[in-house]
Symmetry: C2
Subunit: 356 residues, 2 copies
Amino acid sequence: MGLDVAVPAGELTGALVDFASVSGSEGPLADAVEAALVGLPGLTVDRDGDAVVARTSLGRPTRVVLAGHLDTVPIADNVPSRREGDRLYGCGTSDMKSGVAVMLHLAATVAAESLVHDLTWVFYDNEEVDASRNGLRRLAERHRDWLEGDLAVLMEPTGGEIEAGCQGTLRVIATLPGRRAHSARSWLGDNAIHRAGDLLTRLAAYQPRTVEIDGCAYREGLSAVRISGGVAGNVIPDRCEVTINFRFAPDRDVAGALAHVQEVLAGYELELTDSSGGALPGLSAPAAAAFVTATGRQPRAKYGWTDVARFAALGIPALNYGPGDPNLAHTRDEYVELPLVEEAERVLRAYLTTRS
Amino acid sequence: MGLDVAVPAGELTGALVDFASVSGSEGPLADAVEAALVGLPGLTVDRDGDAVVARTSLGRPTRVVLAGHLDTVPIADNVPSRREGDRLYGCGTSDMKSGVAVMLHLAATVAAESLVHDLTWVFYDNEEVDASRNGLRRLAERHRDWLEGDLAVLMEPTGGEIEAGCQGTLRVIATLPGRRAHSARSWLGDNAIHRAGDLLTRLAAYQPRTVEIDGCAYREGLSAVRISGGVAGNVIPDRCEVTINFRFAPDRDVAGALAHVQEVLAGYELELTDSSGGALPGLSAPAAAAFVTATGRQPRAKYGWTDVARFAALGIPALNYGPGDPNLAHTRDEYVELPLVEEAERVLRAYLTTRS
């Protein structure tokens, strides 16, 4: 099945949505994207699994990486796409086939001679599932050279805003011990669930920081996300587990963030279960500053963790910018505002072709 | 399969253990018990399901009910029974086939003319499972007249002590509400698990009463026995549930106990899920006082809930007295001390045949 990437980005978004590609089944779409890119002049096209990377080699002083994932969350009766006025409905319209459509359409329609940066187009698989399967992570491990650049723009949904850097995240499990007893003789036991009272009270009273970096305000949060304990209705429980998620500003690294949690929850046995460092906004880098100027928008902090952190880990300033609405991602009623798709195309075209 | 109820109670205990009768499969044992009782002089024998009730009708001024359940928890590689020195090992040795053996042996060997009380022997099914299946409950509903008496002795394991009355128990579920949000934007949500901090702190600080009634000290307890909450590792949870068990002294009824819990946990949404009223020790009743004298033991409070409360609900003073060890009930290594079986037989024989 072929893709006509020369059609307007809004129309192309619809074609991409209709080309279903739930995580793990991106192969046919990756084939179509690869075929479309191979047919364009002046691009070196590489492939790894279901990730496709295309690069210009114009000898420009800077290289900009534009990246987007091809996969979507499972379809929820929302394919094929459906247009109502200025809105296009369907699975992946916001997250993030509209961004992918803008990328493909620009790759096909911006003349090489007008480019002020060399470009790298990255289309990858398995962003919506477990991090171990993430296609961008795999590319960074196997083909780091394919991802080199001075700025990375990840076209995740931001509603046309620039969302810079991202928070880090870590999870710990606090295990509260106790001693079992029959609940009719509760004084013979030691209630592990009761012990959670102090821990939860500390979390409820916790005052998170708000940190401003490059004009972006990062607001932290320390939250219990799961609790479980109990043996039976007549037993004093000997164990209670609380899972706590710390979302931290990118001025802390994982080790510093963990040390902070250990300080707040001093006295509790904590086990780190997973972590991902954040990404500094990096807006002081010249290529990033020029991008901000091109959009004419005030950058803001990205709160969720996104793959921009993978670029940041490679030393590449990275930001999120895309036409989709982050609040509609993964919803049954997902849609994208077509004027925002056109705006993203216009903004990026201007940025890629205007000498700063 | 016949039962020889004339053999000593210790030996009869072994025969009863070897006659497996896990809850729900008591039929053959109930048949054997019924056959043995029908063969004895002067007893009216009634049957309902797998419960067997035998009564004397001697015109004595008082009637004593002796009751025991025929069923056991599931076998755990501990049938047939095995004797080691003074101990008899096996499923149900303590809970409560040793008590049943004492009952059957006394029924067979105490001459009617020596009895100072009329007697009712109650053998019932399904005590170790859900209360809705309990055989004594069924008898109380269908054949209340079969259970009439001035004192009930339930031969549950007490290690040869008199455990009088029993605590009541009730369970409530406290539901803590909240509002979901992505944990990267935790301030947009309302964390239901954090709200449990205050509730659990109240439970941890709670000072339970100890109430003395008829010389027995009833110590209460208010305990969280289960907690659960959480949606996903990156979501502020909108619901947390805490199950709380209140074990209360028999000077409170269920309504009073619930009102107390509502007062301690004022401000929380509580749902009563199950309750069983306690039983006053009733040791001031003449038949009970005589029993205490016969044992020569100081009565103590029963902490767990037992079927004595079913007799108490019928207005019959009731106490627990049996040769088994309550701490061994339901264990793989369950055993009974054979000297305690002989002592129980001796004590009861004296009580039943001695004019007070």
